[in-house]
């Protein structure tokens, strides 16, 4: 019985040492991890609203949830540039998340796919950049089109869908339309 106490004590001691060491490492890496997340958001917002400096983009919140972002030309909230919002829609094998920026009339200013785990080589092309090109070609075709009236070519629209990945293409388009409609409704509530 005394043996068990001794063994248990030793195990406890080692675990405590391990936990203390990890707590130290965690305190060092935590700010980095949070900074990385903030950086990712910054990058997405800059792509969605290219004309607005990051300091001039403000989140609009209801309780703790961010509804959408408003972007201005200057940090003093002068000259409205547009709105940015996150859309999500079920694709072929995952939830596809996109950050979209629109001007006050609903024309798309920029967009970036944030998360997707679609079929490699097919659905993943929603964020593929062709070699030698700077921007992902699929989302580039959304630019300057009205966010409320998007549709893929197979549904009579003018967004060229990805060969072999109509479901993923349609998912992005539909989620953007739905999220834009939600933005309109939210804006009415906020004003």
């Amino acid at each position: 019985m005394r043996d068990i106490g001794k063994l248990g004590g030793l195990l406890l001691l080692i675990t405590t040492i391990a936990a203390t060491a990890l707590a130290g490492i965690y305190n060092v890496t935590k700010p980095r991890i949070e900074a990385q997340k903030a950086l990712e958001l910054d990058r997405a917002l800059t792509i969605a609203l290219p004309a607005a400096p990051r300091e001039a983009i403000f989140p609009v919140q209801a309780n703790d949830d961010i509804l959408y972002y408003v972007g201005y030309k200057t940090p003093e909230k002068k000259e409205l540039i547009g709105y940015a919002f996150v859309s999500h829609g079920p694709g072929y094998s995952s939830l596809i998340e996109t950050m979209v920026g629109v001007d006050s009339l609903g024309a798309i200013l920029g967009m970036k796919v944030l998360n997707q785990v679609e079929t490699p080589g097919l659905g993943t092309k929603v964020e593929e950049t062709r070699h030698g090109e700077g921007e992902p070609w699929f989302t580039q075709q959304f630019l300057r089109k009205p966010a409320g009236q998007l549709a893929v070519d197979k549904d009579g629209g003018d967004i060229q869908s990805i060969t072999g990945a109509t479901i993923s293409s349609r998912a992005v388009v539909k989620s953007v339309v739905a999220a834009y409609e939600k933005l309109l409704a939210d804006r009415v509530k906020q004003d």
Partner: protein, 211 residues
């Protein structure tokens, strides 16, 4: 309780995101213990049992001891300005809990049912390092499942694993009689069979569940 949602999780992890064919969890025992149907049944049952228990216990530990939520027991008992964030202990806590759980289950089965121990016992020690168990526990947290969802996810992941194991054992028993090129005998041909079955399971991935 949203029954449809639970069904979606359950069918999803059995067919679409099958632990073996789509997520690559638990491959070592999958290849190692699929030579005979009997042992495959034993291993499948043991894994399902431990997976369910582990999903339950790790979810409780994460939610009430490690996560910085108002439900954190340390916060409730000792107060303080904010709940402590102990999420960095997740991996270490989960693996210790799983190891302890496996030992405990082994002891209980040995005492209560010698017959069951005889058929399951030898598989239990192998389960600690089966990544399907830790994988399910981590996925429950990553996907933000509720308690009930985690339990259902755990059971279903086990069923999916057992299904993959049984299918494989059935094929490998027949394969013993087949003429396989010498170099491909044993593990290599088992992987080729797994690949063909994974192609079949790929057919499920477009399945639309729920909305």
């Amino acid at each position: 309780m949203d029954l449809q949602n639970l069904l979606v999780i359950s069918l999803g992890v059995i067919f679409i995101n099958n632990f073996v064919f789509a997520r690559f969890l638990g491959i070592c025992p999958y290849i190692g213990v699929s030579k005979q149907l009997d042992s495959a049944i034993g291993m499948g049952a043991a894994v399902t049992f431990v997976l369910t228990l582990a999903s339950t216990v790790t979810w409780l530990i994460y939610t009430y001891l490690l996560s910085p939520s108002p439900a954190n027991l340390f916060f409730k008992l000792f107060g303080g300005s904010a709940p402590p964030d102990l999420t960095f202990l997740k991996t270490i806590a989960f693996i210790l809990v799983i190891a302890a759980l496996v030992q405990f289950v082994e002891m209980v089965i040995q005492k209560t049912s010698p017959a069951l121990y005889k058929s399951l016992g030898i598989y239990l020690p192998l389960i600690t390092t089966n990544c399907a168990i830790l994988g399910a526990a981590l996925l429950n947290i990553d996907q933000g499942y509720t308690f009930i969802e985690s339990v259902v996810h755990g059971i279903s992941a086990g069923i999916g694993f057992a299904l993959a194991l049984l299918l494989m054992a059935g094929i490998r028993e027949k394969l013993e009689m087949a003429e396989v090129p010498k170099a491909m005998k044993g593990i290599p041909i088992a992987f080729i069979m797994a690949g063909l079955m994974a192609i079949a399971f790929l057919g499920f991935s477009g399945l639309k569940l729920g909305n």
